[in-house]
Symmetry: C2
Subunit: 346 residues, 2 copies
């Protein structure tokens, strides 16, 4: 493994900078060839390094880059890019663009992180809209690449087809799935089911020379391991992702309530606690640490605002794997096959 | 309570006619003023009545109407209506149209049941597209009316606004929620977030004189009790509903696997079993029995193909409540307010 340099937006996230610094330290311990660039307000970061366990041995691989600008959750992404040129999100993206880092990780404002990654790092040739992918767990082991969840709304058919192709590259190169099974999210299995946009996206994918396209998926297929990649418009994907988070909370709260209702249940709950922990860990997005933004000329992993240190560490891990897989180069190659094919069609 | 006559599509569903007959018997026992019209192949139904517990006392309130046509899950809805005029779904709808029943219940082919209800019973004046509503559970007690889930795709803004208004009438009249909080499903809370269609639908609802419209909901709000009604296009709703079913299965299977991994867990699982059963019952769609189709001139409740006797019984219960609430008359009145308002606007 060659050295990987990851720029971390230390100031992004609900629990920043403490959780981001702890996550960075854990990542440095876990991956000995990792270099972390800590991007944020140097005056705030430096005094925290000692207390957060960055001892001399680790400091060889941790660098601080000053970026005092702060992005609020209610700032408009465009404003951030225009007016907050010194914000940690934007500076992290510049480090990737200028070749000082292979990838960036941010747990901050999702819209701003997507926009900074897209506009500063730039899009892969042939990609019109980069897409945010989420890894959806199932009992089979390998998660399903569900793309797009970043509220890329009113997608055209070629956008959804692009999400599917980029998701397939991710499944193959980062998750190690050979010949991933790709589907488009719709309201029925039959090829005739769908909106005008999904039907046309399916028609594009059917013609792709090197894609294992299997037609329509239904909502339940996101969770049963039937497909390796499921593509959809970002409105639908965002709603499904947030709905899933809502169900996860409902299940956790509801089980807690039910399991503490009387003493026998509490005894039973103590006995099954390891099982429940194991089960929830399997379904926990924090295990994946963040969502890769696919289709940009570099690596960008965007995490949940509520990320804790473990999620930050795993987000850095996801960025390392994506950088090692040389993801954007492979996406560019795959998109080129697509456009060659389209040209031949005409 | 006046007598309620419900036409049951005995032949519809994966476990028909056994589960439908058992459900009908349970409903007759539960609601003493209920009359059930058993619609289906008389030659198959009659011999099953005795073995399924329809004793003389119940038979006063159970009537068989012969309809030998069978609708398969792969039949196209249009074909069913044109060619299968004697199918049980269609005959049940005719009984409602002709005033022989206040409502119908079918666990058969969803598309065919929606089409039969819409075309045979007819639409409420002012309603362009009837919508299938689902009741989504939460820990607060009163479920959220989530509409539309019947794959009414490519909705226009006025369709989504109509779903919201009809859902509010259902929440008020059937679930007993005073002044229900209504929202449109989108990708962010801010009024500016959404597709062109959802933004325009919100603009229509903001002008409605008697609706407690609260703006945008996010995916997680379907499950947290924040709103009483959440409206969306049928593509999104169908995907969210099926995705939720997929998660429910994943949670059940995953917990089962985790709780049987060793002997201590199995002991603990035995102690917490009542808690788990209680919890899953709370989240089980079978408790609601079926989805009401709103916007037709009568009552139609459409259940899951996999419905068991309990789901059939509860579906009949849902139809009784909708009939008692004189739902379609109230929907018509509420839609008229809407159109008066629109005319005044112009």
């Amino acid at each position: 493994m060659s050295a990987q340099r990851i720029a971390l937006d230390v100031m992004g996230g609900d629990h920043a900078p403490e959780a981001t610094l702890d996550g960075a330290r854990e990542a440095l311990v876990a991956w000995p060839s990792l270099q972390v660039i800590l991007v944020g307000d140097e005056g705030r970061i430096r005094p925290l390094l000692g207390p957060h366990g960055f001892h001399a041995g680790l400091m060889d691989r941790a660098h601080v880059v000053h970026a005092p600008g702060v992005v609020g959750f209610h700032d408009e992404p465009k404003v951030i890019l225009k007016e907050k040129k010194n914000s940690s999100i934007r500076v992290a993206a510049q480090l990737v663009r200028d070749g000082h880092a292979e990838g960036m990780v941010s747990m901050g404002h999702t819209g701003a992180a997507m926009m900074a990654s897209t506009l500063v790092i730039g899009k892969v040739e042939g990609v019109d809209r980069p897409g945010l992918a989420s890894l959806m767990p199932n009992l089979g082991g390998t998660p399903c690449v569900f793309i797009e969840v970043g509220a890329n709304i009113d997608s055209r058919p070629e956008h959804i087809a692009g999400f599917a192709i980029m998701g397939a590259v991710y499944a193959e190169e980062v998750l190690g799935v050979p010949n991933p099974r790709v589907a488009i999210l719709s309201v029925g299995e039959e090829d005739s089911k769908g909106t005008e946009v999904t039907l046309e996206a399916a028609a594009i994918l059917r013609k792709h020379p090197h894609l294992n396209f299997q037609g329509n998926a239904e909502g339940r297929d996101i969770w049963n391991g039937r497909f390796d990649v499921i593509a959809c418009d970002g409105f639908v994907g965002n709603v499904v992702l947030k709905s899933s988070e809502g169900i996860a909370r409902l299940v956790k709260d509801g089980l807690k309530e039910a399991l503490t209702a009387n003493i026998w249940r509490m005894v039973g709950a103590a006995l099954v606690k390891p099982a429940l922990m194991e089960f929830f860990k399997k379904l926990d997005y924090k295990e994946y640490g963040g969502l890769p933004l696919l289709g940009i000329k570099g690596v960008s992993v965007i995490g949940h605002g509520s990320s804790d240190a473990r999620a930050v560490k795993n987000g850095i891990g996801a960025a390392i794997r994506a950088a090692e897989g040389r993801l954007h180069e492979r996406i560019q190659a795959r998109m080129a096959e697509q456009s060659t094919m389209t040209l031949e069609d005409k």
